[in-house]
């Protein structure tokens, strides 16, 4: 079933594009060029972030932090290894990507921790950045309950990610 998703999307998008008179191949290649640029632009960011995260891991600081919050997170059903991700996710998208990538590499992409980190990254957004962009553009200074409500959504996303991975992949 799941193996049909990616090829299926490729087919549907191509057929839809052709029916709308789009030169699908040229567009695919053009977009691919932009993808290459995006990936190249990510190099310096990820170099800095992975440098920092690797240092944290080697120094034992990550283990210390994990150990400190482990009882609470384990009780909630969240893998304690993801604690850094929980803290950084709403603040910085690129830092979260760096931390998540390190978790996925260290624990393996198909491990419980690796999968949970991936689902957390995929199901939440950089809350504070989004709030700043939208309210800044609309010239809003009193944001009322927007941030608390958005953080509720993030917390729910983290919990749901942990539970969904346990439920769907077993552990």
């Amino acid at each position: 079933m799941m193996s049909m998703v990616v090829p299926g999307i490729l087919l549907v998008v191509a057929a839809w594009g052709m029916s709308r008179g789009v030169d699908v191949w040229a567009t695919l290649v053009e977009g691919g060029g932009e993808g290459l640029q995006t990936a190249v632009c990510m190099v310096p960011t990820l170099v800095g972030l992975l440098c920092g995260v690797y240092m944290l891991r080697a120094s034992g600081a990550l283990e210390l932090l994990e150990g400190a919050v482990a009882p609470v997170l384990t009780w909630l059903g969240i893998p304690p290894e993801t604690v850094g991700l929980l803290v950084v996710r709403p603040i910085s998208g690129s830092a979260a990507l760096g931390l998540g990538a390190e978790l996925i590499q260290t624990y393996g992409p198909d491990s419980l921790v690796g999968r949970t980190a991936a689902v957390m990254l995929g199901s939440t957004e950089t809350t504070f950045y989004t709030v700043a962009v939208y309210f800044g553009a609309a010239k809003i200074t009193r944001t009322r309950y927007a941030i608390p409500a958005a953080l509720c959504a993030d917390a729910a996303g983290f919990l749901a990610a942990s539970w969904a991975v346990k439920w769907l992949f077993g552990a």
């Binding site: 977009g31 709030v131 939208y134």
Partner: protein, 190 residues
């Protein structure tokens, strides 16, 4: 600025902890090793990123956002009762949600900002619908999380996209909680 602080804390905490635990040598090695890992990760991600950006470009050019946003219009009118009759606001919001679903961040943000400006109406105080718009945009509803899948692929996953159902469940829970929280808080937080 936030990133500069995060960087400072990461380096500072590593040095403190490394010195305390006597692992300074490992820390020094890890700094350079991490820099290499950053490049390797990006290189390994390039393939999936290129493919997916190409597919997204076809979606954009073939007007998939418009098609999807027409389907979303009736549902979204219920989330924004104050603007249900306003075709321009609802059209922009629907297109914003459609672009978010398809993962077209570059298209979604300008649409969302336009909707926020249309909703604001001056005064500097966030209205209920403006808060709802922001909460919905801070929750990720992307159907295909391509960047995450490419990281998994780069790390040698056997099926990089097998997390999709879990991502959909988690996203749905997150958005629902956000919407409910916003609706409840709207009554008490004036």
């Amino acid at each position: 600025m936030a990133m500069s602080w995060i960087w400072l804390v990461m380096v500072g905490a590593s040095i403190l902890c490394g010195a305390a635990t006597g692992r300074m040598e490992d820390v020094a090695g890890a700094a350079l090793e991490g820099a290499n890992a950053g490049v390797e990760l990006c290189l390994a991600m390039v393939g999936v990123m290129c493919l997916w950006m190409g597919v997204m470009k076809v979606m954009e050019k073939s007007g998939m956002v418009d098609g999807l946003s027409r389907c979303l219009h009736p549902i979204l009118s219920r989330l924004y009762p104050q603007h249900a009759g306003d075709g321009q606001v609802m059209g922009t919001v629907s297109a914003n949600v459609a672009a978010n679903l398809l993962g077209l961040g570059n298209a979604a943000t300008p649409l969302g900002i336009r909707a926020a400006q249309l909703m604001a109406g001056g005064g500097g105080v966030a209205t209920d619908s403006l808060c709802m718009l922001v909460v919905c945009n801070t929750a990720s509803i992307q159907l295909i999380p391509a960047t995450v899948a490419s990281i998994r692929q780069a790390a040698g996953s056997t099926a990089a996209f097998d997390i999709l159902p879990a991502v959909w469940v988690a996203s749905a829970v997150s958005v629902t909680v956000g919407i409910v929280a916003a609706k409840v808080l709207a009554r008490v937080w004036r």
